[in-house]
Structure formats: structure tokens, C-alpha cells
């Protein structure tokens, strides 16, 4: 099939940027979306043009590096997948495809489709951990049984890949699905109890400082999350935040 691509090109963070048109021909339906961009880039390099910069690494949907906004949707038209898992069989001959970077004040564009998601790392650094040193002398792993249901729920929250699709798709540019997922994972596990209050307060504080917006229950994040993280995590984070604020320290 042949496609018309309209791709956001921006030389650097301070450059204004613009949509540029490209044609890609002989696209095979078994190609992934990123492999289609590879083909485009190979042509650009051969012609002596600058290839389109985009983030990608594992190409199997787990590293969270790829980040394209395709035809107005984070990671494109399919649900529960990242851009690298989107295959060209989801498009048809003659389609026009818009490809843009994540757009959010907290994710400045580095170049073309590549953005800086350092804000996510800084939120994790503010409290996304259990303070345990690596002595190897902790208690036996089976010393505290954890109900399977809790462990499974914690796992579901922990599958977040930190790609930022939730932020990109949210009209408020909110990161609450991302932060809620981490807060939920630890809130559901016995190991997370000691720092439970401090964690949610610190992570939310950092989230606000980074310039992310607030949640107004639109739910687009849940729809476009490639790992199907549930809105429940936002509800849980709000509850945790409230509890942390109203209950006296002792």
C-alpha cells in the first residue's frame, strides 16, 4: 500500500516546528509502524536529508520509549498496544496519516517526534520506592503472605511502562494515571505501608511542580494506555492523598 504521511518536524526544542508531507510507497501490512518509519528514514538518508528523529528501543511494547501521536491518538488507532506493536495492517492504501510527538508542557520536544520525559523520572525519585537498602538480609520472601488478589492488583498497576501516553492524550495534560499506578502498587503491598503517606504526598507534590494538569475524570488516559491501566488507580491515589492529609501523623 501507499501512504501519505504528515509528520511533525522540529529541529530543536526552541525551533517552531511544522508538519511536513512525505509519501511512503510499497508498505507491507506485516510491517510495524516503526518499521514503516525506518523505510522512510532510509530514503531520507539516501537523498541526503535529515531522517525523522523518534524514540524507540525494545520494539516489543515493554520499554515505553516509543511515543507517537498518530491521527490524533496516542500510540495510534489500536487499543492496549504501543506504537512499536502497531502494524500496518491497521491502515489501508491511500490513507493519510498524521504523526506528531506527545504534546504537553511537561514534555518539551527535543527533536521531531522525540520528547523529554524527565519529569516522570523526577516524580519517581520523589517517592516511587520502598526505602530498603540492598543488604540481602531482609526477611524471607515468604515471611509475609500477600493475598493473591492484592498481589495481582499491585502487579496490574506495576505494569505501567511510563510511556506518557496518558499525559499526551489528556486534555489537561495530567499525569495522574502514571502517578496513581505507582502509588497503587505500593499502597496494595505490605512492604509499601511504612512510607505510604509520605510517598503519595511527595509524588503528588513533584507532579504538580512539573506542570502536569489535574484529573477531571475524562478517562481518555485509560482508553489509550497501552497497558490498560485502570482509572481505579487515580481513585486510589486520591483516596491515599486525602487520607494522608486528614489523618494526624500518629
Amino acid at each position: 500500500m501507499n501512504l501519505k504521511l504528515k509528520i511533525w518536524r522540529q529541529k530543536s526544542t526552541s525551533d517552531r516546528g511544522a508538519i511536513v508531507d512525505y509519501n511512503v510507497n510499497n508498505v507491507s501490512p506485516v510491517m510495524s509502524f516503526l518499521e514503516m518509519i525506518d523505510v522512510l528514514n532510509e530514503d531520507l538518508v539516501k537523498k541526503g536529508d535529515d531522517p525523522v528523529a523518534f524514540d524507540h528501543d525494545c520494539r516489543e511494547g515493554i520499554c515505553g520509549m516509543c511515543s507517537m501521536f498518530i491521527n490524533g491518538e496516542a500510540h495510534g488507532p489500536n487499543r492496549g498496544v504501543t506504537t512499536c506493536q502497531l502494524h500496518m495492517r491497521s491502515f489501508k492504501d491511500g490513507d493519510t496519516v498524521y504523526v506528531e510527538p506527545w504534546r504537553s508542557e511537561a514534555f518539551p520536544v527535543i527533536k521531531d517526534l522525540m520528547v523529554n520525559r524527565g519529569a516522570f523520572d523526577r516524580i519517581q525519585q520523589a517517592g516511587g520506592f520502598v526505602s530498603v537498602n540492598t543488604s540481602g538480609r531482609t526477611m524471607d520472601a515468604n515471611a509475609i503472605p500477600i493475598p493473591k488478589e492484592d498481589a495481582d492488583k499491585a502487579f496490574d498497576a506495576a505494569t505501567c511502562i511510563g510511556c506518557g501516553a496518558c499525559v499526551a492524550t489528556c486534555p489537561n495534560g495530567s499525569a495522574m494515571l502514571f502517578v496513581g499506578a505507582k502509588v497503587s502498587q505500593f499502597a496494595l503491598l505490605p512492604q509499601g505501608q511504612v512510607e505510604r503517606k509520605e510517598r503519595v504526598l511527595n509524588m503528588v507534590k513533584q507532579m504538580d511542580e512539573e506542570g502536569f494538569g489535574n484529573c477531571s475524570n475524562i478517562g481518555a488516559c485509560e482508553v489509550q494506555c497501552p497497558k490498560n491501566i485502570s482509572l481505579e488507580v487515580i481513585a486510589r491515589m486520591n483516596r491515599e492523598y486525602l487520607t494522608a492529609n486528614v489523618k494526624p501523623e500518629n
Binding site: V30, N41, E42, G136
Partner: protein, 666 residues
């Protein structure tokens, strides 16, 4: 070059304890003034950086990705081994040690492997304490499953995302230290050289991948946790960015490269679909717990399937060849990876491959679905369950265990693996070879360490499933933090190391020169063109099966690829700012040199062992035929300045505890 493995004296099971008891320490006040650079933030790197910072060292960590959380350990699926014996199935530290040595086809070091088995149980304790959500059973205790090459269930897992959960655990420990300011994290940075001052590693030259600037970073020790080099084959299950550059540059500065030809071809990957393909996707070995591998017994069925006249589920049992169960009844579908891969290749070479390219076999879950369905029906008290009910119940169980893998498969292949068997074929997955290290994980350059997949030490000629995660975390959490002190104890009086020395000057100039040459190369072909060509030579001639003639041809062809690459590769030179093609070109140049060394190593090793299969050396029934007399050694290659004339050094392997014998899984 003198290779001293520094294995402590004493009985095997007391070596590590004795070592820890006698190793020199650095007091807390002195640690603060000692700098350590950790390159890479996968399981080994993140755990090492976090642990060293917790201990009080001043740490700088680098990764080429946009965040340390994205290192390719994240993609590990199946699980992590630990000798906990929670299943009460006869597991022990010794058994894990024995399985690993045997699995590696007697080409790894006893002392290192025993230490790995010893600390394995601590890893699980540590990860649970960090909040890693491992799979649990209904009693709330940790669940286990089996992996290849073992007869116990010692693999801990988190669905098909164990690597992700473990890496996020290590990343959280690292984040905690970054937040405290004890680790300085440099994202989107690539190490391009190691700086040696007076024979010791004293820092690195790194390139900021965003701005393109070269940076000098000094330290009292440098730790490389930069992963494996499977991408030398272009197509592999590695991430697109995984590369050998840091390790290779260290090699060129004097670090010996151990057993480069020992690569792991993983038996269960999604087959290649076309020329445009950029990478291959693994289907976890854990699937072999429940999936049965087969091809049709009769050629007419193969043809009917290829012509799409017949569906695999319509082939009756008696017309199927479950070749692993047939050839290896004791281990069945859970033989080690090298054996499973070769067996798949053998069937496909004989013409029994089940897709259009003839390079695919089936991995079938229908018996598991029925088995689990029946058990669930009993649990739920459904008597006289219909077949449909049983299938539905069984499908749910399989989904619980492997849901994300099945979804990945369906995304790529557009077929439902709950209903139609998966098609799989071997692909490059892991590299057992790597920088030579001693017992302390130090390379042959003083002050330069290598951990995780980047070193060669624990897996011999074949790694067992679920052991990579174990080794990465063992090295980073529990081994390096002890051993590095033994070296740094001598550095407490050194003081801050200047980056203005002639050595830093020379190293930076050297890197600058290479970058300028690539940028000003007025070539015509994109870098990937050469990488793909190199990959094809490697796969065809230094892949699953190797022979003398092919390897000699490969060496000549690689030399030709090198020549053309430097004459005709095109790297956009408008700007060095986020120049992704330049970053790629620097990596491919190193892959070309490494590829040649791998062929030299494979050619030198006139035996078959583990993943290294020389067609000239096999038993009557096609198994690997070792030559212990001549090759029971680690081939540690030394850089001579000429990639086509590497120098071989040998470290003899001594087995004091295990009787070296022909490996059998029958």
C-alpha cells in the same frame, strides 16, 4: 597478558564466605570521596549503582535511553531462578550450581557459578522487600515454575513481565539514590572510550546524544553493565539500541574479551516475516512449561499446511512429531535452549517447517488448555463439564499465566494462539561471551569492572533460562559491592582525578577523530545497509551451526564490509544535535570488528559445546561433541591494534567438584 582468575582457596561452598570475611573495606568517610562510574542501567547497572550509592560511594550512572527504566532487562519475560526450594522438590544451592555448570556445557568457572547459586535466594528476598509483585498462589505465598535444563521448579515470575518488574524494582532503588543526590544520572549518554591513566581505568569519554557534545568523566573505578552484543546479527531479540560499543572500546584499551563466539540462539521466537524487519520477538521459555513443540510427521501434511489446505489443529495426534519429547524423554520440551534450537533447525532443514519460508515449528497449548480446564472444572465442582466449558476454563488459566505473551503474538502475527498453535523459530537472544573478568568481576584492566551480560563469567557455552536476571542482580546487588572495595581500599589517598590529563586529552581526540571521519564520509548508503549485511554473514556462517569453511569465508566478507562501510556509509552531517544516524554508525563500526573476532573465536574452537556448534564435531545422533582435552579453557582475546589479528590467551578451567562428562538430557 596474564590472566589471574583470583579464585579464593578453600572448599567450594566456603569460598565466597571466606572472601567476604577477609576482603578489605573502605570506611564510610572515605567512600564519600571515591567516585565510581556505572555505565548502563539494566538489572546489573541499576542494582550496582543503587547499592554503591547506598554504601556511600559517589556514583555517576549513564544510560543511552531517555530514562534508566528503559534498559533492555525490562523485556525479559519468563522469570528468575533462585534456590529457595519453596516447592520442596529437592532443590538446593548445589543443585542450582550443578544445573548451571552442566547447562553451560562445562565451560564456566565453578567458583563464580557457586557464588551465583548462593546469593540467588537473597535476590528474591531483596526484591520482595522492594515491593516487586511476584506471582503468588491462593495461600499468598510465592509461586514457581520450571525452565529448561532443570527438573525442579525454581523460577519466580511476574506473569510474562518478570524482567520489567525486577528492573522497575532496581530502578526504584536507583531513583531513591538519585533523589538523595548520591547518584548523578546522565540519561541519553553513550560511553565512547575508557580512559586509562598509569595502567588504571580512571574515567570515560561519553557523548551526550542530545547535544552531540563529548564529555570527560573521571572516577576511581569504572563499571560496565552494558549488556550483550546480540545485535551483531542485526536481527535479534535485543532492543534496537543494544550495542557492544562500551565493551568493545574497553577491549581496545586492554580488556580481554572472553569466549565471544558463545551466543545463545533462543528456540522460541516469532519467525522472520520479511526484509523490512528490524527485530525479532521472543516468546518466553516459560511457555515450554505448557506448550508442546511439534511438526507434522508426514511431508504431505507439511505441504498441505504451507498451501493453507490444512490447519494444524486438524492434524490428528498420531500424525504429529513431538520431536523434543521423542528425542529427550527425560526433559521433553524443557531441554536447554541450545538443544531445543538445534532440534528445530534439524526438523526444518529436513523439510518439515510449517510456514512458507520453511523455518517454523509449532508450539501448541491445546493439551495444556484441556488439562487446566479439567482441573478447574473439578475445583469449581462442575461435574460432566462439556468440552466447550473445559476449553473456556482452561483458556482462562493459560491467559492468567501468559496473557501478555499471547497478546504480543497476536499483535505481530494476527492469529489467535489460544486456538491455533503458535509458530516459532530460533533467534539470537543472549551472548554468554563478554569481557573477561576475574572472581572480583574486574576485567584485565585494573579498576575496570564488568557485570551482568557484559561479562563472560557464569553461563559457559549456554545459559539456562531465567538465569540472566539472576546473574544481573547477583552481580549488581551482592557481588560487586563487596569486591570493588578490595580495589578501592587503595584509592582512599588518591583524591579527585583530573580530567585535564594528557590521557583524557588523547582519548577525547581519538573519539573526535572517528566522529569527524564518519560525518565527512561522503558516502551513499545508510548505516543499516552495512549492519544488515554483517548480520546476514553472522547468521549464515557464525549462527546456529558453524564450520571451518564458512567461518573463513565470513572473516573475508566482514573485512570487505568494513572496507565498504568506511568508504561509503552515509551519515547526515547537518548537525550533531540528536544525530541518531551518527550514534548508529559508531555502534555498527564496533559490531563489524566484534563480528570478525567472533568468527576467529569460533574457528579456533575445534569442538562443539553448548551454543557453539561446529558441524565437524558432533556425536552420531547429532549432539555437541566437546573436546575437553584441548578446549577446556576460556578463550580470552587480546586487542593488538589490528582487528584481523587478535591474540589468544587461555584461562584453563579447573573442575574440582564436578565431574566433567558428556551432557545428556535423554
Amino acid at each position: 597478558m596474564e590472566l589471574n582468575s583470583k579464585i579464593p582457596d578453600g572448599p567450594l561452598d566456603q569460598k565466597w564466605t571466606k572472601y567476604k570475611g577477609n576482603v578489605r573495606l573502605v570506611n564510610p568517610a572515605n567512600k564519600r570521596s571515591i567516585d565510581v562510574i556505572v555505565v548502563g542501567t539494566g538489572l546489573a547497572g541499576a542494582s550496582a549503582a543503587a547499592s554503591l550509592a547506598e554504601m556511600g560511594y559517589s556514583v555517576k550512572a549513564l544510560c543511552f535511553q531517555d530514562s534508566p527504566r528503559r534498559a533492555h532487562s525490562i523485556a525479559a519475560q519468563g522469570g528468575i531462578n533462585a534456590a529457595k526450594n519453596y516447592m520442596n522438590d529437592g532443590d538446593s544451592t548445589y543443585r542450582l550450581f550443578y544445573d548451571t555448570i552442566k547447562g553451560g556445557d562445562y565451560r564456566s568457572r565453578e567458583a563464580n557459578v557457586h557464588r551465583l547459586a548462593e546469593v540467588s535466594a537473597n535476590i528474591i528476598d531483596q526484591c520482595v522487600a522492594q515491593g516487586v509483585p511476584f506471582a503468588r498462589d491462593y495461600g499468598g505465598l510465592l509461586d514457581n515454575r520450571s525452565f529448561g535444563g532443570t527438573q525442579v521448579s525454581r523460577t519466580f515470575y511476574a506473569k510474562g513481565q518478570t524482567g520489567q518488574q525486577l528492573l522497575l524494582g532496581a530502578y526504584s532503588a536507583l531513583s531513591r539514590q538519585i533523589g538523595k543526590g548520591t547518584v548523578e544520572m546522565l540519561n541519553r549518554h553513550e560511553m565512547l572510550d575508557v580512559v586509562i591513566v598509569n595502567g588504571k581505568a580512571r574515567g570515560i569519554i561519553a557523548r551526550n546524544l542530545v547535544t552531540g557534545e563529548l564529555e570527560r568523566h573521571s572516577a576511581h573505578a569504572v563499571v560496565l553493565c552494558t549488556g550483550g552484543y546480540g545485535n551483531v546479527f542485526f536481527l535479534s531479540t535485543n532492543a534496537m539500541g543494544s550495542n557492544v560499543t562500551a565493551a568493545w572500546r574497553a577491549h581496545k584499551r586492554g580488556a580481554a574479551f572472553g569466549n565471544p563466539c558463545f551466543t545463545q540462539i533462543h528456540p522460541t521466537c516469532i519467525p522472520v516475516s520479511g526484509d523490512h524487519q528490524s527485530k525479532l520477538t521472543l516468546m518466553s521459555e516459560s511457555l515450554r512449561n505448557d506448550g508442546r513443540i511439534w511438526v507434522p510427521k508426514h511431508k504431505e501434511d507439511v505441504e498441505a499446511i504451507r498451501a493453507k489446505r490444512l490447519k494444524p489443529q486438524d492434524i490428528p495426534e498420531e500424525r504429529r512429531d513431538y520431536y523434543l519429547e521423542r528425542r529427550y524423554p527425560a526433559f521433553g520440551n524443557l531441554v536447554p535452549r541450545d538443544i531445543a534450537s538445534r532440534a528445530a533447525k534439524e526438523r526444518c532443514d529436513e523439510g518439515f517447517g510449517v510456514n512458507a519460508t520453511g523455518e517454523a515449528v509449532y508450539l501448541d497449548f491445546s493439551s495444556a488448555i484441556i488439562r487446566y480446564g479439567k482441573a478447574q472444572a473439578n475445583v469449581k465442582g462442575i461435574h460432566n463439564a462439556t468440552e466447550q466449558q473445559i476449553i473456556e476454563l482452561g483458556t482462562k488459566v493459560v491467559e492468567q499465566k501468559y496473557g501478555n505473551l499471547f497478546q504480543m503474538y497476536e499483535q505481530i502475527v494476527a492469529e489467535n494462539p489460544y486456538k491455533t498453535p503458535m509458530m516459532i523459530y530460533p533467534a539470537v537472544h543472549y551472548t554468554m561471551g563478554g569481557l573477561w573478568v576475574d572472581y572480583e568481576l574486574m576485567t584485565s584492566v585494573p579498576g575496570l569492572y564488568a557485570c551482568g551480560e557484559a561479562n563472560f563469567s557464569d553461563h559457559g557455552a549456554n545459559r539456562l533460562g531465567a538465569s540472566a536476571l539472576m546473574q544481573g542482580l547477583a552481580d549488581g546487588y551482592f557481588v560487586l559491592p563487596y569486591t570493588i572495595g578490595n580495589y578501592l581500599a587503595d584509592e582512599i589517598r588518591t583524591g579527585k582525578i583530573s580530567t585535564q590529563s594528557p590521557e583524557f586529552e588523547e582519548a577525547e581526540k581519538n573519539v573526535r577523530k572517528q566522529i569527524d571521519a564518519l560525518l565527512n564520509n561522503k558516502g551513499t548508503m545508510p548505516v543499516d545497509h552495512y549492519h544488515k549485511r554483517l548480520g546476514k554473514v553472522m547468521w549464515d556462517k557464525c549462527g546456529m551451526a558453524r564450520n571451518e569453511k564458512g567461518l573463513k569465508e565470513a572473516i573475508t566478507e566482514i573485512q570487505q564490509i568494513r572496507k565498504e562501510f568506511f568508504e561509503n556509509a552515509r551519515v547526515p552531517n547537518e548537525s550533531e544535535y540528536m544525530n541518531t544516524e551518527l550514534a548508529k554508525a559508531l555502534r555498527v563500526a564496533d559490531f563489524i570488528d566484534l563480528g570478525e573476532l567472533m568468527c576467529f573465536d569460533a574457528l579456533n574452537r575445534n569442538e562443539s559445546c553448548g551454543g557453539h556448534f561446529r558441524e565437524e564435531y558432533q556425536t552420531e545422533d547429532g549432539e555437541a561433541l566437546r573436546d575437553d582435552e584441548a578446549y577446556k579453557y576460556v578463550a580470552a582475546w587480546e586487542w593488538t591494534g589490528n582487528p584481523s589479528a587478535p591474540k589468544l590467551n587461555k584461562e584453563e578451567l579447573v573442575y574440582e567438584n564436578i565431574k566433567v562428562q558428556q551432557r545428556s538430557y535423554k
